[in-house]
Symmetry: D2
């Protein structure tokens, strides 16, 4: 009987900056080195770079896609397990729900929704050059990181 696997998400934009792409690939590699499964939105940009890094280092990669099939939302070439949800933006919830912890890299409103849902669900989360948010001047205690190594280390420190 094989052990149940740990699922870690990397969330970010489908159009990453060169720096975000570099960070995502490094984060993917480090997640693989810790024997976790890489979960992402399955598309281009940060999602693709994270899947590439993870697959290059031997990890299983899962893409939770908005479309109902590959014609509607083509998975990037580093996704081994594409999950075609057909739920479009509602799939953002699923990414937050199925992961044990997540790292956010940059990102648009979709990424912000995944960050918020992950925090709402009480998931460990580290922000890497990503959104900053506050309400009524209150400082929030979401962990941040400056490098891929620091992000992965901080995330693992908060996992059960």
């Amino acid at each position: 009987m094989r052990l149940r696997r740990r699922l870690i998400g990397v969330i970010g934009s489908s159009v990453g900056t060169p720096e975000q792409i570099y960070l995502a690939r490094a984060v993917g590699r480090l997640i693989a080195q810790r024997d976790a499964v890489l979960v992402c939105g399955g598309m281009t940009g940060v999602m693709q770079a994270a899947a590439q890094g993870a697959q290059e280092a031997g990890a299983l990669t899962i893409g939770i896609l908005p479309g109902a099939n590959a014609a509607e939302s083509p998975p990037n070439e580093f996704i081994e397990i594409p999950l075609f949800t057909g739920l479009r933006e509602a799939r953002n919830y699923l990414i937050a729900s199925v992961c044990e912890g997540l790292i956010a890299i940059g990102g648009g409103y979709g990424t912000l929704s995944e960050i918020a849902l992950a925090l709402r669900l009480g998931k460990p989360l580290v922000l890497l050059h990503s959104w900053q948010f506050q309400i009524e001047g209150e400082l929030l205690s979401v962990p941040t990181a400056d490098t891929a190594e620091e992000a992965v280390e901080r995330l693992w420190a908060t996992l059960g």
Copy 2:
């Protein structure tokens, strides 16, 4: 044949501050005066105050609830149409999706997720004493307001 109705959402915490409760009830009343249907999460706090204001001014009120029935998630007493989704936090997506426009008042991570999903779906949205967020120093152009009147006016100015 009756006309199709306009659905406007008010999102915010189930534990609002007195100021947020005051604002939510006023916003609900103003939405009713513009002949729209009030949509909210159906629970306590800001959701209840918005439904109360809307119902007092004659509007239909819809609550999109996380639980599968009233025992799991009791609707507040001002909800005329409770929609028991059974989807828990995934129902946040639905609130953003079914509304033509939304006003956010204060709020926690759940509200932040609804704000982000609404923006991702391209819905008109006004922030009223709610979240502020930025990424990589970029200023975002989400409309804000200081009073209930201003929030409703700004929202209606952006509706089709």
Copy 3:
């Protein structure tokens, strides 16, 4: 404070036979006469006829639509409250979940899925010229009806 409303669903094909259309409109009318809100999938065929009957008799009509907006899934003209879910076929679950009881008239696989989900969720349900199903020769005790009147009476007899 107004009373919470009872939501009753009518499910069936977007391309009904003349007999199904006749039955759906009659069922819609009878649901309205019992002061319930009519819920359906919001589209053509059986859904439209049920909404028409309900609206003609004064009821509020809710359409739970697969698309994200009216361009993607135009509501029929008798839907007063269109709920654009953007969830496509996953919206079938929602129809079963939000209704207190349902009547199925004819229907395709979508309707069969709604019937099965309603039964799975323990919702009162009456089949009117609709699917028959059995497993391993076991007879199932889902109530059936031959007329609109009988369907509505049988449904109300099982509501709480």
Copy 4:
């Protein structure tokens, strides 16, 4: 770069008969021998037997669970990748959506909903000692099978 994997679902009751359990384990084994990933609802009964057969023959096993975590819905011990959706019965839709083809073994209303959703989504499907259904006397052309071997062969014959 590794190839994208084929996902095949086995659906059935959490309380299977001895014959269904035997069939499910055999089907799981045969799916593994054809190098596909086994997808199921992750729980006991038919789901567990299918995962056991697949894992024994070397396949990756994915469980799409109703609960938000292992406390809410414990995966069976043969699930390598548990996906905690938190969507409860709405997760039935996901099982139908993410699989390229499915085999139904026995089953209750939950399984019937998955069968109907799979057919609605146009997924290849084989019924193995499972539901029979008809409408208005019309015979439906859903493929059936009597043995595990026949079920898997018939399914593969209809995959693209």
